[in-house]
């Protein structure tokens, strides 16, 4: 991990740096697995290694691959970094050791999630129950962050009348990558199916709105890479995406408002169903759907915008 990170910083060739960053994300996903953080590993692999690598590649195609040798003095940043690092290391001396069950972290708030979430919310995956219900408002804020990013990127590089067909990065001639087309024709439905599985499996095992959203988006990004942006736009037009992204946030917020109107506090799922636990199930399902809607449409929209901008040059 450390060596990969060091090499990412040292290398001049940005393409290698991006690829190594993807490898670094996969390694960190592995480390998260070792530290029992299954959902986080899933998300880091899907979002960290997948989407950000694709976006960086698009940016690199637009901005050239190699980096100039640094001209500024290198010792000042090194000094700042060493000082911050020393402060942090000095700060960790009184931290309880890693992994000790007696840590204050495990005494105060967490035990209730572990013991009562089974009864109160009734789904095995405690992380999803905390994510969607106990701290559901954080996740609403986070969906708004994803929507803001999509809106911001659209404001910056969107709304462009593309001159001529947007040539995909790979396929220069239609018959050129026959093998890729055939295999991807077979793979895309499987990826979409897997995405839906992750979406609805989120309550039992690792999974949930974000991971599902990214996987659904990646299926269509494969299509975009292989068949070219124009054909993908015919299947999923950009205007549809710009409607779906806000709808996801509204669906999430609306579920909360429904709880409000039915008598509970905001984002309280109890009144939604006949029984409180049933309400929780319905609430979490709707909320995860809203998240998946926003995340998948925003990720795909980002790829459309970057592809259109890159192809224009």
């Amino acid at each position: 991990m450390l060596v990969t990170a060091l090499f990412v910083v040292r290398t001049r060739d940005l393409l290698a740096a991006t690829m190594l960053l993807g490898a670094y994300s996969l390694l960190s996903a592995g480390m998260f697995m070792v530290l029992d953080a299954v959902d986080v590993a899933f998300t880091e692999a899907a979002v960290g290694a997948g989407v950000s690598t694709i976006l960086m590649l698009y940016a690199l195609v637009a901005s050239g691959r190699f980096e100039r040798t640094p001209t500024r003095p290198q010792w000042l940043p090194l000094l700042v970094v060493l000082a911050t690092g020393a402060a942090l290391v000095w700060g960790t001396f009184d931290l309880p050791p890693v992994g000790a069950p007696g840590n204050p972290v495990h005494q105060h708030v967490a035990p209730r999630y572990l013991q009562q979430s089974g009864a109160e919310i009734g789904i095995p995956n405690v992380v999803t129950s905390v994510l969607a219900s106990y701290r559901g408002y954080d996740t609403l804020g986070e969906t708004a962050v994803v929507f803001t990013a999509g809106l911001g990127v659209w404001l910056l590089i969107g709304g462009l009348q593309r001159r001529g067909a947007a040539a995909p990065v790979l396929a220069s001639a239609p018959h050129a990558n026959l093998i890729l087309r055939v295999v991807s024709k077979f793979l895309i439905p499987v990826i979409l199916l897997f995405g839906l599985y992750v979406q609805f499996h989120g309550e039992l095992g690792p999974g949930g709105g974000f991971q599902a959203g990214v996987i659904l988006a990646s299926a269509l990004i494969v299509h975009l890479q292989v068949f070219g942006a124009d054909q993908t736009r015919q299947i999923v037009p950009e205007s549809l995406l710009r409607v779906l992204a806000p709808l996801g946030v509204l669906l999430y917020g609306g579920t909360g408002v429904a709880g409000l109107l039915l008598g509970g506090n905001y984002l309280d799922y109890h009144p939604l169903g006949r029984t409180p636990v049933g309400g929780q199930h319905l609430g979490i399902l709707l909320v995860e759907l809203g998240v998946a809607l926003t995340v998948s449409s925003t990720m795909l929209l980002l790829c459309y915008l970057f592809a259109a901008r890159v192809a224009r040059r």
Binding site: A87, L88, W90, G91, T92, F93, D94, L95, P96, N103, P104, V105, H106, Q107, H108, V109, A110, R112, Y113, S133, Y134, R135, G136, Y137, D138, L140, G141, E142, A144, V145, F147, T148, A149, L151, G152, V153, W154, L155, L156, G159, R242, V243, A245, P246, L247, V249, L250, G253, G256, V257, G259, L260, G264, N265, Y266, L267, D268, Y269, H270
Partner: protein, 491 residues
Amino acid sequence: MSAHAQLLIVLLPLLAAPLAALMRTPDAAWALATAIAWSVLSLALLLLLQVQAEGVLSYAIGGWAAPWGIEYRLDPLGALLQLLLAAVAAAILPWTRQSAARELERARLPGFYAALLLLQAGLLGIVATGDAFNVFVFLEISSLSTYALIAMGRDRRALTAAFRYLILGTLGATFYLIGVGLLYALTGTLNMADLAARLPAVADTRTAHTAVVFVTVGLGLKLAMFPLHAWLPNAYAYAPSAVTALLAATATKVALYVLVRFVWTIFGAEFAFGAIPLAALLGVLAVLGMLIASAVAVRQDEVKRLLAWSSVAQIGYALAGLALASGAGLAAALLHLANHGLMKGALFLALGNIAWRFGNTRLSTLRGLGRAMPWTMAAFVAGGLSLVGVPLTVGFVSKWALLQAALAAGAWWLVGAIALASLLALAYVWRVVEVAYFEASESRDLRCEAPLGLLLPTWLLVLANLWLGIDTRWTLGLAEAAARALAGAGL
């Protein structure tokens, strides 16, 4: 419905933003944004009355009790900030319609208004929440929308300014995240009130000290404290005028609010000022900020950058008030926070009128504007006087409160710094006034005043500046109530 007012004030702009993005025509999006801004103002007033009646309001989101679920807490300090945010936004949004229509492309306007709503929702969310991690989430919402809004400026330098602000802002947010993480490791909770209760037990550990330092540095980056202010001048100078006005009046204030919240509510005065020399550190940086930023402001030839540098100096004033570590100092800092929001709002709107008419705000363009745009320049002069702190203006009230607090705390160095900085402020305001009124310019003797739609909001803010300068019952009373709530018997 009033029981949910505490939440609706954040939820309305948050859910209105996707709606605004879906709108086809810019006017519909603008109408929605203005309606939301005005309803948020009424909610802020309602909440203020509720807080004055019942003291601290608490709202458990999702029906889960405090440390487990996320809790919204509103105390007099939060109510004061929300009122400032709502009032400034309600004044600026009607003004935005004509200014944005001229500065931005028509296709991007619905998105622009959606981003403005998200910025407002983010800022209101930070002030309303009682959960440390929720502050980070809403900090990111407001920051991301700010980066996008700044980058929409016409000048290409807006892009580099937005990128630099993105890098520094994200570093600041991540430093804040490290600080909250360390606090979580020590106490096991994220709820601010719970954190305040459990922190004294672990307060003397080195980790707690590091956490305080990291939270302060992180927020210092966000509120452009003196050495960490590199992003502010360019960001405010090249952003669209409406965005600069809104940011200058609210964004840095909210970051300062979070710092006050952490120092006074979570760490508690004796820990924050006793164990770590925070008071001395903030005091030195504030004074340096005041003097150097004002000095640089005098030499600027682009009036928007001049006012941006003056904003860095004014934040120095508020930090100096905070650094006095006394109840009076806190009240003065909060008062200056609110007053500075009004002052800068009025000044940037006046500049926006000029930019609307001439497209840029260089000092040379302002030559002879005293006669050409009398109302706008009159508004600018009123705002400038208030900035300097001339009696009968709101600036004077906050400077006077700061001086009193400094004298009470025996901080002579601060009294001298305030006097010197005010002189510098007089210098750079006078420089603009001199160019506008006394330098004749032949090409512009015809009267080309900005349209009524732009003038009314500007003068609304200027009148607020003057009226609150005279009748200080509102601002001074609220600031002292907030300070009393935080500092307890400190007053």
